[in-house]
């Protein structure tokens, strides 16, 4: 089932690309790009939903519900659902696209592994996976595993003055770090989520670097391409927090969501407070925001 629905189509497309460009390294890059483009709408949905959930955490009504029903889980969940409904937030909105994307990314990885057949049994099974008449297996198999200085079937090392330097692994560590840093939310409340994000920023690049160091360089190339495409994707979506890695940008605040210099937003308006029309930028998920003067008026009324 998995083989028929995911691996086989992926493999055939990968081999088709290879038959067109004649270079497996470039084929991996183009194939990764293609899969990322196909899953782009899901990525957008996921970002939007995540963003909505993040902003919900700061909603006073949400905080109030959490505080009020902290000892009654059932009621808490009912009230949360009510609030989700009211604000038009789907709590599974960020999970579902991820759940759909994960098998595709795993399939992409597996098809790259499978295409680098390095033994007769692997090559025979690869040849059997090709759709009859789709491409000529004799013309494309076995794939040419040389790309730049690399043997794509072996871990990569660039020999400089007798030392084997794992260039790809280093690039994978750097780009994984950049990617995780760029999507790190600007919050600084010191909560558990933030601590987890910070831990992820350290461990994830190390893990990916280790894998790029020890696995075949074809896979390391895939990790690198995937990271670079991911960074480009976040930037295009305006989701990249460049100030996380370029601190001098902090003086020129950029809204990571809209990608534009925002009106200074300080809080989310609770539902019961009447509002005057505002020109402040709003977001799809949380809707209403206040500018500083509005906030001051609201605080005065509250008192």
């Amino acid at each position: 089932m998995w083989e028929t629905i995911v691996i086989q189509p992926f493999l055939n497309v990968l081999l088709l690309i290879n038959s067109l460009v004649g270079n497996f390294g470039i084929s991996i890059i183009l194939f990764t790009l293609l899969v990322r483009l196909i899953t782009h709408p899901l990525t957008v949905k996921q970002f939007k939903a995540t963003q909505g959930m993040q902003q919900l955490q700061n909603d006073p009504r949400y905080k109030k519900i959490m505080e009020k029903y902290k000892d009654d889980k059932e009621r808490l969940s009912q009230e949360q659902m009510k609030l989700y409904k009211e604000l038009g937030i789907n709590p599974l909105g960020s999970c579902l696209p991820t759940l759909i994307q994960f098998p595709l990314i795993l399939g992409l990885y597996q098809s790259v592994v499978r295409a680098m057949a390095a033994s007769p049994v692997e090559l025979f099974r690869l040849a059997q996976s090709i759709y009859p008449g789709f491409i000529n297996p004799v013309a494309v198999l076995p794939l040419q595993n040389r790309f730049l200085w690399m043997d794509l079937g072996q871990p990569e090392r660039l020999t400089v003055f007798g030392f084997g330097i794992p260039v790809l692994a280093i690039l994978v560590v750097i780009t994984t770090f950049l990617q995780t840093k760029l999507i790190e939310p600007p919050s600084s409340n010191g909560g558990q989520a933030e601590m987890m994000t910070k831990s992820m920023n350290i461990y994830m690049p190390l893990l990916m670097g280790f894998m790029a160091y020890s696995l075949a360089s074809g896979l390391a190339l895939y990790f690198l391409a995937s990271n670079l495409i991911g960074i480009a994707q976040y930037s295009i979506l305006g989701r990249a927090n460049w100030k996380n890695i370029l601190p001098f940008l902090k003086g020129k605040e950029t809204d990571p969501i809209q990608g534009k210099t925002p009106v200074q937003v300080v809080d989310v308006v609770p539902e019961e407070v009447p509002q005057k029309p505002s020109h402040a930028k709003t977001t799809q998920a949380t809707g209403k925001r206040m500018t500083k003067p509005q906030k001051q008026r609201y605080d005065r009324r509250k008192k």
């Binding site: 592994v113 033994s119 007769p120 025979f124 198999l141 043997d151 831990s199 461990y203």
Partner: protein, 353 residues
């Protein structure tokens, strides 16, 4: 350690597990390499090389004594006199004492997996490698020369009086002088998995490719003597027996040709892909299909006996005067031994330490 750190590490270890399940261990999968010599069978698979008693399948010794995860065997061993030669996918080529399984020497100068079977001649051992190189070692394990091709070498080099003949996945068949210089190269229609076959007078070399072409080449200059086109890809080694040339293809056909002219004498439908090739017996031929149908045929292609074994087979059978053995993967057992005359199964075993 803080809770989030533990959680993150746990998640990443899980991710590593998932990804490494996609590309297990040394990132290559293979099949057992089996060789039969006298009263011993040698099986190279997984972390060990096993010496088995041919009459019972009992393990006599394993190499290395303590199996290591870094050593993984998929190549067919070569047995010469008192020694066993075999390469692994950790890029090491081993010479092992046949009597006790002790290492004599190792060669670690290759850059890829050893998948193809080595061969011996002219005082050297020729070890093909996935880095595209053929390594010529003297019998003490010292590198004599390296011959470079452009892709994996999965076939066994053939030793002629003045040259070594080699087929490569780069689609070429090469003749190499005994000091490592290329004498000639002939391009085939597809990658060449099959080992070439040298005729007895060493005047002609026969080989087929994944591109379905089967050729006879003059060993002196690589000129084409004749060519034949099969219906499907040719993966297995051909054999010369009873003045005929036999080979099979992945479409399940056995071809019987005249070795002098290439004229087709007969075509037998086997019905299943043949990957591992054929073997000559004193009074017939044997082959095994990828799906495990072992057949012993008369020289005219008619079936003498057949047996079905469990598993997939990628190597041709091996035979002695008494036994015919087959190595399989994904089956009930790994090694199956049959009485070569009657076809009665003698034993089957998955060797363990």
């Amino acid at each position: 350690m803080k809770k989030p750190h533990i959680l993150i590490i746990g998640m990443l270890v899980g991710l590593t597990f998932v990804l490494s399940a996609c590309a297990p261990g040394p990132r290559v999968s293979g099949t057992p390499g089996l060789e039969l010599s006298g009263d011993q069978a040698f099986v190279a698979y997984g972390n060990s090389l096993y010496a088995l008693k041919a009459n019972s399948g009992t393990v006599e010794w394993t190499y290395p004594e303590e199996s290591k995860n870094t050593v993984l065997f998929f190549a067919q061993p070569l047995v010469v006199d008192d020694n066993v030669f075999v390469g692994d996918v950790a890029k090491t080529f081993h010479k092992i004492d046949r009597s006790n399984g002790n290492s004599v020497w190792t060669f670690t100068g290759a850059n890829g997996y050893f998948i193809g079977q080595a061969n011996e001649g002219h005082g050297m051992v020729f070890a093909p490698n996935n880095d595209g190189n053929l390594y010529a070692l003297d019998l003490q394990g010292n590198l004599q020369w390296v011959f470079e091709t452009q892709h994996f070498i999965w076939s066994q080099p053939q030793i002629g009086p003045d040259a070594v003949y080699l087929s490569s996945m780069d689609r070429f068949v090469y003749a190499i002088s005994t000091d490592g210089k290329q004498l000639w190269a002939k391009e085939m229609a597809g990658a060449v998995v099959a080992s070439p076959v040298l005729s007895e007078d060493a005047g002609t070399l026969f080989v087929g490719s994944m591109g379905s072409d089967f050729v006879a080449l003059k060993t002196t200059d690589g000129q084409l003597a004749w060519s034949f086109t099969a219906q499907n890809s040719i993966w297995g080694q051909a054999i010369l027996a009873d003045n005929k040339l036999y080979f099979a293809d992945t479409g399940g056909f056995l071809y019987i040709l005249d070795p002098l002219s290439g004229a087709e004498k007969s075509r037998v439908e086997i019905g299943e892909p043949v990957i591992g090739g054929l073997i000559a017996l004193p009074d017939g031929i044997a082959l095994v299909t990828e799906k495990g149908n072992l057949k012993v045929l008369e020289f005219d292609g008619s079936t003498r006996w057949e047996a079905r074994i469990s598993g997939n087979v990628f190597q041709r059978p091996v035979a002695s005067d008494d036994y015919l053995m087959v190595a399989a993967v994904d089956g009930d057992n790994m090694i199956y031994a049959f009485d070569v005359q009657s076809g009665a199964q003698k034993w089957s075993v998955t060797p363990k330490k």
